[in-house]
């Protein structure tokens, strides 16, 4: 299957997760991605281990984010090596980085320099907080951005204190926004020949991610965010929206009518809330009633009455139970990739499907500098 970005060359100076997650998407869509890594440690994510798991010498996170890419090792502070990188940049479609403000200038890969080398380049940069103001030099780490952007106030129950999302959502969303900007500029480049500049910050991405609740805050006169007392899954939505324990597990209920739910579940007390407004205004007491009632039977007993009525509900699963379902198996969501030394590992595939085909790739993660010589030769650096 031909992939849509075949023929596009991306030179990626980014490290850790935000930038590399963007170039992974571009790679899976068919672009050739060359990581430029410093000698010694390379991308520092190589040594950022999850739960002490070492996979062929490197972290699981690094493998997940950097498969399907090549690695070119260069010390940008060394004049001769930098010239070689410049020669590569001259032949690229996209240059990207996620350095803190000022670093790209010091390394000689700032926008003006790169544009002078290649006037049609798409130059994409990702920062923590933008390039101006009192926060510009702060470290741009996912948890810190979740903490200052108000995101930790939205999850968990009232009284639980700040609850962050246990996944680097801000890194991933800012990376996704960077990829969107790059792709939009690539479209303009192939249709008009014009290059472009794309800038994204984790702070701006974190705020747009919360566009519903941020807009709500401005609309309702700045009322504080109040989460439900129990079974919370959204601070601004009424009952039944939430996750509830059952006799043997848990069930999620999305939006729906409380009296209808009362009928379906055989819970007479829920019939006392006929007004739609009460589902939000009295959500804590409604959720209490629901929680007590749902705890009396198994998840499958509740699904058996709710699903035929098309009430929005789901069993809360873990990966093991999900992976055993037929619905998961037919998605072929897991692929195996191979490194050049023969090491193989399992990971997820790109979630986008094109013309009824999945965007899979068997190419594993590059060793630091694995493709330096090959690239130098191919691009006459």
């Amino acid at each position: 299957m031909s992939k849509p970005l075949e023929g596009i060359l991306v030179v990626d100076f980014s490290q850790y997760l935000s930038g590399p997650s963007a170039s992974l998407k571009l790679a899976d869509l068919g672009a050739r991605v060359i990581k430029i890594e410093k000698p010694g440690l390379g991308d520092e994510c190589r040594g950022l281990f999850f739960s002490n798991l070492v996979m062929n010498g490197e972290s699981s996170m690094f493998h997940a984010v950097n498969r399907n890419k090549q690695s070119y090792k260069a010390d940008l502070k060394n004049e001769a090596e930098r010239q070689k990188v410049y020669n590569l940049v001259k032949q690229a479609d996209v240059v990207m980085h996620n350095f803190r403000p000022g670093v790209a200038e010091r390394l000689g890969i700032d926008y003006d320099t790169v544009k002078s080398l290649n006037s049609e380049i798409i130059y994409a940069e990702l920062s923590g907080y933008g390039k101006e103001g009192v926060w510009k030099d702060k470290p741009g780490l996912d948890l810190l951005l979740q903490s200052i952007s108000g995101l930790t106030q939205l999850n968990g129950n009232d009284g639980a204190g700040p609850v962050p999302i246990g996944l680097a959502v801000v890194d991933l969303l800012s990376g996704a926004h960077l990829a969107q900007g790059i792709l939009a500029c690539l479209y303009r480049k192939v249709s008009t020949g014009k290059g472009g500049r794309v800038e994204v910050s984790m702070l701006e991405s974190a705020l747009e991610y919360q566009f519903e609740s941020v807009t709500c805050f401005h609309r309702d006169g700045g009322m504080p965010t109040v989460r439900p007392k129990s079974n919370s899954a959204h601070a601004y939505l009424g009952a039944p929206y939430g996750i509830y324990g059952t006799k043997n597990g848990a069930i999620a209920l999305a939006m729906g009518s409380i009296p209808v739910l009362g009928d379906l579940l055989g819970c007479a007390e829920l019939k006392n809330y006929p007004e739609v407004a009460s589902w939000f205004n009295q959500r804590d007491e409604i959720k209490d009633i629901l929680a007590k009632h749902l705890a009396t039977k198994d998840t499958k007993d509740w699904l058996a009455v709710l699903e035929p009525a098309d009430f929005w509900c789901a069993e809360v699963m873990n990966w093991k139970t999900l992976f055993d379902t037929e619905a998961f198996k037919i998605l072929n969501m897991i692929q195996e990739v191979s490194m050049s030394d023969g090491y193989k590992f399992k990971t997820t595939r790109c979630p986008i499907q094109i013309n009824d085909g999945w965007l899979t790739s068997e190419v594993g993660t590059p060793k630091l500098g694995e493709h330096t010589e090959e690239i130098a030769k191919e691009f006459s650096l």
Partner: protein, 380 residues
């Protein structure tokens, strides 16, 4: 010139995932026309947060559908359908999130549309993909977070499964749709051919967990273990987490434990000297840190850690954030206005192009608000 100027997108999609994709394309310069049923319009107009409405439509609808036009058409009416087909013939992209089979019944399935316009990019959003036993189940954000294991990552060890309190699956699915559509537009410039792009909430939400799933798949399938208190990531070492202080909280990101403890002016107990214990004994270490951190104010600790460039931060509410100079600098808010002159403050596009922020004053349209202009302009 915005990068997608000249591109026309027809949005048959409803609720959040598809419309959030349309919004991003609109902000990047595309013209996005919602195709809606006459009268009531798309179902998402009635989904409200805190029961807040702007006009006949909810604030949430206006948030996700600003900067778009609306063309009302009854797809079950032959004349209306004919006009929509004429519009499709002149469009670059169309998106929908109907359950599998619905577009076939209407007669706007990919094969039919491709015959009308071979250059079109046809984007589909579903809950669980178009095949398999779950294909016709309702695909809704919280349900997908719950099915996909995502809810097992947040909150503390003893908490119930904890969802993100915002539509994370919808938002990321919309993002994947945009990426697929834009990549196909790039390819179309070379080949002249359109494409079908499909995304599902389930696949996106699994893709979103790629780092932790790669860990799970290669560590012998160990279930994720959330920290006992202050959990911020099931798979990361201490000190990663949020801690109470004397007057609030402090977040501590990736910071070597020994450096942190030294900065706190104390000694790392010998039992935690080996770096391998920082994950294995995470709960004990976090409890040890908590006892010290709670004795001083957040500002005290920030004034100790920040000059050392340790990765720490205060924890803000919206009020605290919006009053901060750091927030004001980024100019993130904009005012939008409906055709009845009702204004609303909302966020702008987070992507800057060619050194410029992207603003747009147009709020969401009423159903069919642009029928006359569109019929004339596209000669329907």
């Amino acid at each position: 010139m915005l990068p997608l100027e000249g591109i026309t997108v027809l949005e048959f999609a409803q609720f959040m995932a598809g419309p959030s994709a349309g919004l991003k394309m609109a902000d990047l310069g595309a013209r996005v026309i919602k195709i809606e049923r006459p009268g009531s319009g798309e179902a998402g107009r009635q989904i409200a947060l805190k029961n807040i409405f702007i006009d006949e439509s909810s604030m949430v609808f206006h948030t996700a559908n600003r900067n778009k036009q609306s063309y009302a058409a009854d797809l079950k009416n032959a004349d209306d359908l004919e006009r929509v087909k004429k519009l499709i013939a002149q469009a670059d992209v169309m998106t929908h999130n109907f359950r599998p089979g619905v577009m076939d019944k209407i007669g706007l399935d990919y094969d039919t549309v491709k015959a009308i316009n071979p250059r079109i990019i046809y984007g589909v959003v579903s809950g669980y993909s178009s095949v398999g036993p779950w294909a016709k189940k309702p695909g809704q954000d919280l349900l997908i977070q719950s099915l996909s294991g995502f809810v097992n990552l947040s909150g503390n060890a003893d908490n119930e499964p904890t969802a993100t309190g915002l539509a994370t699956s919808d938002i990321f699915t919309g993002v994947d749709l945009v990426q697929g559509v834009l990549a196909a537009l790039v390819q179309r410039e070379k080949t002249g051919e359109g494409a079908k792009i499909e995304v599902s909430l389930l696949e996106t939400t699994l893709g979103l967990q790629f780092e932790v799933l790669t860990t799970y798949l290669n560590d012998g399938n160990k279930a994720p273990q959330r920290a006992k208190k202050g959990n911020a990531h099931a798979y990361l070492d201490a000190p990663y987490g949020i801690y109470e202080t004397k007057d609030g909280h402090i977040s501590i990101g990736l910071t070597p434990l020994d450096v942190l403890v030294k900065a706190m002016g104390t000694e790392l107990p010998a039992e935690f000297a080996d770096k391998n214990t920082w994950y294995v004994k995470r709960d004990e270490i976090m409890a040890f840190l908590s006892e010290i951190l709670v004795k001083e104010t957040t500002q005290h600790w920030l004034s100790v850690f920040e000059p050392m460039d340790l990765r720490v931060s205060d924890v803000y509410t919206y009020k605290q954030l919006f009053e901060h100079e750091g927030f004001k600098t980024i100019d993130m808010m904009q005012e939008v206005e409906t055709s009845d002159n009702i204004t609303m403050k909302t966020t702008r596009c987070p992507i800057r192009i060619d050194g410029k922020k992207i603003f747009s004053r147009k709020s969401a349209p009423k159903p069919g608000e642009d029928n006359a202009i569109i019929e004339k302009e596209f000669n329907l």
